[in-house]
Every structure is written in C-alpha cells, then in structure tokens.
C-alpha cells in the first residue's frame, strides 16, 4: 500500500455524521475501503460501527457527509438499488422459504433466467458446503448452517462489496474459529471486498487485511493488524487490542536520540524523538515485552514487587505491583523460571518495544496549533 500507487477505492466515507434523536453516534468519519480488501471495523458496542455499516447498505441515511460506491454518491439510492449485500447478525433468513429459495431470492428479484438461477444457486450451495440441504427450511438448521445460507444468499448476487455485521456472534467458540477460516478463504477465492464489523479483537486480527478501530463514533486508527497491534496510535487502541501495560509519564530530559520519561513509579529512557519537554505521554508495553530482573538494567529505574503468578497453559502471567499501586503484567513462556512472589524486581523492556503516545490533551493542543498555523496566525499570540 505505497502512497505513490493509485489506490482503487471502492467505498469512500467522507465526513459522515449520524445522529439519532440528537445523539451523535458517528462523528466526522472518513474512511476509504480498497477494492478486494478485507476491512474490519472494530470497536466496543455502541461505537457506531454497525451504524456505519447500515449507512453503506442504505438502511440509514447520514445526517451529513457522503458515501461513495465506486466513485458514485449513493445518498439517494435505496438499499435495493445498491450493489452491496449484507450478512446480518441474526442471519435474517426468510423462514417461509427453503434453502434454495432463500439463496435464489436476489436472483429472482433481478429477473435472472430460471436455469441460470438454478446453476448459480447450486454452485453457491457447493461453495458453502450445504450440498443436499436445498429443501431444508431454516427452522430445521443449526446456527452454523443458517450462517452459511446467509452468506451464500448474499454472495450469489456477486456484490461489489459484502457487508458483514458480526456474522459469527451467535456461534460457539469452536464453530466461530472454523467459520473465520472459511470466510477468509472465501474472500480470497472470490476477491470480493469484505467490510466486517466485530467487537472481537482476536477475530479482527486473524481475518483482516486492515482494521479500522472505532470508539465513541470516531475512527481511532486504521492500519494492518500488525500496525494497530504493534504501533497503536491512541491509548484506546492500545487498551482495546490485546493486553497492554499503559503507564502515564512526562518527558523530563531529552538527548539527541532519546527521551527520558518520568513516571509515578520510576524513570525510563526511550529511543524516541520529536517530543517537547514536560510533554505528557503514555507508554504502552505489551505484556510479552515487559520483562523483570533482579539486576538493575541500563536506562531504567523502575522497580516493583512480584504479586502473583497466573498459569495460562503455554505461558505464565506475572503481576507486578508498582509503588503507586498500578499492576503491570508480564507474560513469559511457561518453561522459564519464575521469580518468587514478594521479590522486589527491576521492570524493563527492550528499547523500541515501548510505544509512546501523546495524551489526549496533547493531541488536542497539536490540532489547535496546526489549525492556528493554517490560518496564518502566530502561535505565540495565543499560547
């Protein structure tokens, strides 16, 4: 995804706002979805991800802003006039139709010839492995089978974009894992753009080409699973995706290639630049990168007490209490030797494994600074 290359944008969400009874659920959302990619919209319930999906499908109309499908503004297009299809959370199969008629529904509406309908539906039934179930009614099927019908019913129309609204939410864990793999394989095989909504961060990490993390109606970060996991841009992303140790501090000293961050419980040197003196920052360290040692490590003055070891199969999780009461988590392979509970230890991490994030106040400060610059005014007149 190099910036110089011409991007093939299939869905463009531009400055979209959506309010229900005066309550803003989607705020100034901007997002480009590229042709053929598997994009996941991830966020806690109520973050506006499903509303965004419903706006792309046409079930909701944006309060302001525009949505483009293949470059065309679809503001006045009804759901039946858009070349996208949806897989609903609760399947939403037609209970009075059998599997064949459910899948054929869209083709019948498009007035496709009968023998072609038969051929395409049968092809779909094979693709989702429901052979021999053509005559079954939805009430006679299990959750996983119903989900396959719902997917086939949408895909048979060869949509430009397939929208999936937590499609695996109602399935048990094992079936969900299996369906995740199948969905990903289907997407690769057909090359259709998938926009997938989920609150399950693990699901998002395993399936997606890109993840768009949403919180309270705003887009927090868009990036590949590796990017959002390893380099979270906001505290929310760091917290929501995977486990994280998030430590607050401020920049006390600066050298040419590093900053020294002072936290409530100690100090650490971070090889990062571009911060101001006294700037408030968050450090985000994944538990697998947080290490403990009885020896003092260079660049760290950060000590805590081992409180508890939790055995989680292949790994051990060690809880370390810092002087200010914060609990830090460190995950180590199960075969590693454990430091006895109660020992005072030095906490450290490999330089580069800590992600430094500006606090929200700093971000707002930067935004104001930028906009003031744009307007051609001198910063120091205001600040």
């Amino acid at each position: 995804m190099s910036k110089t290359q011409e991007k093939d944008v299939i869905v463009r969400i531009a400055d979209v706002d959506k309010s229900f009874d005066g309550e803003r659920v989607v705020k100034k959302l901007n997002l480009d979805v590229e042709r053929g990619e598997f994009l996941t919209m991830l966020g806690p319930s109520g973050c506006g991800k499903t509303t965004t999906l419903r706006m792309i499908a046409g079930f909701e109309v944006p309060t302001s802003g525009q949505i483009f499908l293949e470059g065309e503004d679809v503001d006045d297009k009804k759901p039946n006039e858009r070349n996208v299809n949806t897989v609903f959370q609760n399947y939403a199969l037609f209970p009075h139709m059998n599997v064949f008629d459910n899948i054929a529904f869209g083709l019948v509406e498009k007035k496709v010839k009968k023998d072609e309908i038969r051929r395409r539906v049968e092809e779909m039934i094979r693709l989702v492995q429901l052979d021999g179930m053509e005559k079954r009614m939805p009430s006679q099927m299990s959750g996983g089978q119903k989900q396959r019908v719902a997917i086939a019913r949408a895909l048979v129309n060869r949509p430009k974009v397939l929208l999936l609204d937590e499609p695996l939410g109602a399935l048990d864990l094992k079936l969900r894992k299996q369906m995740q793999g199948e969905l990903k394989a289907l997407q690769r095989q057909l090359g259709i753009t998938f926009i997938y909504v989920t609150h399950d961060q693990e699901e998002a990490l395993t399936m997606s080409d890109r993840i768009a993390v949403m919180n309270r109606g705003r887009l927090e970060q868009v990036g590949t699973p590796e990017e959002v996991y390893n380099y979270p841009e906001t505290k929310f992303v760091a917290d929501f995706i995977g486990e994280s140790n998030i430590i607050e501090g401020y920049v006390e000293h600066m050298t040419e290639d590093s900053i020294e961050v002072t936290m409530e419980s100690g100090k650490a040197v971070i090889p990062e630049t571009g911060y101001r003196m006294e700037e408030m920052v968050y450090l985000c360290i994944r538990p697998e990168n947080l290490k403990i040692s009885t020896e003092q490590k260079e660049g760290f003055r950060f000590r805590g007490q081992v409180r508890e070891h939790i055995f989680i199969g292949s790994t051990n999780k060690t809880m370390i209490e810092m002087p200010n009461g914060q609990m830090l988590k460190s995950v180590t392979p199960a075969e590693d030797e454990l430091v006895p509970v109660g020992t005072t230890v030095n906490v450290y991490w490999n330089p580069g494994k800590a992600v430094v994030m500006r606090t929200k106040e700093e971000q707002i400060y930067n935004v104001i600074e930028q906009s003031v610059e744009i307007e051609g005014m001198r910063n120091d007149q205001i600040f």
């Binding site: 039946n80 609903f88 939403a92 037609f94 529904f105 869209g106 509406e109 019913r153």
Partner: protein
C-alpha cells in the same frame, strides 16, 4: 416419570365429566339435526324419517335470496376487514406517531361496546347522513365490528417479527412492494387468516347489527330465520340450521388445516 404417567391415564370419573360437558355443548345441536329429518311439523316427538324439509327449503325463494345476501355480505366485509385491518396493524407496528397508544386502544371499542348500542349508533349515523339501508350499509357495518379482530390477530403475529428479515429482502434487491408480497405477507399470513376467519364467522351469524342496518332488499339469513321463528320453529328452519352447522364445520376444518400447514413451514 411416575407423575407424568398418572396425568396421562384416563380416569373413569374424568371421562364421565368430559362426556357431560360435550353433551351440554352439543345436545341442542343434535336435537336440531334430528328434528330436521322429522316427518312431524311439531318439534316435540320424532315420528319418522324424511328429507322433505330440505326440498322445501330449497324451494323457498325468499330464504334462498337471504342466503345469497348473507354470503355476499360476509365475503365482502371479510375481504375489506382483512385488507384494512392488516394495513392498520402494519402501520401501528412500523411507525411511531403522536397519539399512537390512544389510536391502538380505541380499536377495542367496537369489541367491548354492547352490540345493541353500536347497532343503534350506526343506524342513527346512516340516517343522519341520509343514506338508506342497503347491502352497502350492511357491509360497512359488518366491517366496523370485524376489522378490529383482524388488527388484533395480525398484531399478535407481528409482535415476534424480526425487522431485519424485511431489511434482508430490501438488501437483496426487492423494492417495498415486492418485499411486502414476498416476505412480510407470507410471514404474517397465519395471523391474517385467523383474523379473516373470525371476521367471516362474525359476519355470517350477526343478528343485532344487521337488524338495524339492513334494508328491505338485503335481509340476511339470520334475520330471515329470526322472522320465521316468530311464527314457531318450522322443520325447514331445522334443515337450514343443519346445513349451516355442516358448512361451519367444513370452513373451520379447512382453516385449521391451512393454518397448521403454514405454521409448520416456519
């Protein structure tokens, strides 16, 4: 296990009790059927078997005319009730508007109000707007009291309706009208049918409202029978009643069968 068995066993006492209940319910009907085959014109003793009264009944042109009237009124009022009632129920389900709760509870008024009061109200209404009583007023009157039943049965069906199923149809390329006929209507059809059956039976045997809103040319069967029994119950009324019972049973059975089939599918 032990307990369940006990419930399933027939006790002679309960069998006897059940028989008494059924006897109480159906004995009068059997008497009517029996006397319709009686040679004697008096409904006191059974003197011999005959089908003469059935023949006489069919020869009675006035009686036949009122029978045809009844069918026309019943079918027309049922069709109208089903259409208006279903649309009303859908509107109440889909849209939020002011005074919604007041409008939906006002639908029960024709059901709870004494029928006589309702009939007189209709009579006064029609005469005050100078409409003379005819088949049309009769049909309108029947729609007013049977439509709420359709609304109630269809709303009950809609209570468990998943809106995303309609959205799925829209998503798959069906417009509003196609969605209604291919998805919504089939799904609520058990409610529509039972509402229609209620409307039909209520229209077929209505006396009170019909008495006030029928014109001289639009006498219905119940009104005709009422007129005939004033002069004593004649055997041809018995014959007619027997046929009506038979007709009702047939309609009831078909309705149950259709409904069972529809519900089994879903």
């Amino acid at each position: 296990m032990e307990k369940r068995r006990k419930v399933r066993e027939f006790k002679p006492g309960s069998v006897f009790y059940a028989c008494l209940v059924y006897l109480f319910l159906y004995l009068p009907i059997f008497v009517v059927i029996a006397f319709s085959f009686n040679t004697s014109e008096m409904n006191i003793t059974f003197e011999g078997f005959t089908v003469e009264w059935y023949g006489r009944m069919f020869e009675n042109r006035q009686l036949m005319q009122s029978f045809v009237n009844t069918i026309i009124v019943a079918v027309a009022s049922t069709a109208l009730s089903v259409i208006i009632g279903t649309l009303c129920a859908l509107g109440l389900y889909k849209f939020e508007f002011k005074l919604k709760s007041m409008i939906s509870s006002s639908l029960y008024i024709p059901i709870v109000i004494p029928e006589l009061v309702f009939a007189i109200a209709l009579l006064i209404f029609f005469s005050s707007i100078h409409v003379s009583m005819s088949m049309v007023t009769l049909v309108i009157a029947h729609v007013t009291f049977s439509m709420p039943f359709v609304v109630i049965t269809v709303r009950a069906r809609l209570a468990g309706f998943d809106k995303s199923i309609e959205e799925a149809a829209r998503d798959l390329g069906a417009n509003e009208l196609r969605t209604f006929f291919r998805v919504t209507l089939p799904m609520i059809s058990p409610g529509v049918i039972s509402g229609g059956m209620l409307a039909l039976t209520m229209s077929l045997d209505d006396v009170v409202v019909s008495f006030f809103t029928a014109g001289p040319e639009s006498q219905t069967l119940p009104l005709k029978i009422l007129g005939m029994v004033r002069k004593g119950v004649s055997p041809d009324v018995n014959a007619l009643s027997t046929l009506m019972i038979l007709g009702t049973i047939v309609i009831l059975l078909t309705a149950t069968l259709i409904q069972g089939k529809l519900e089994k599918k879903m």
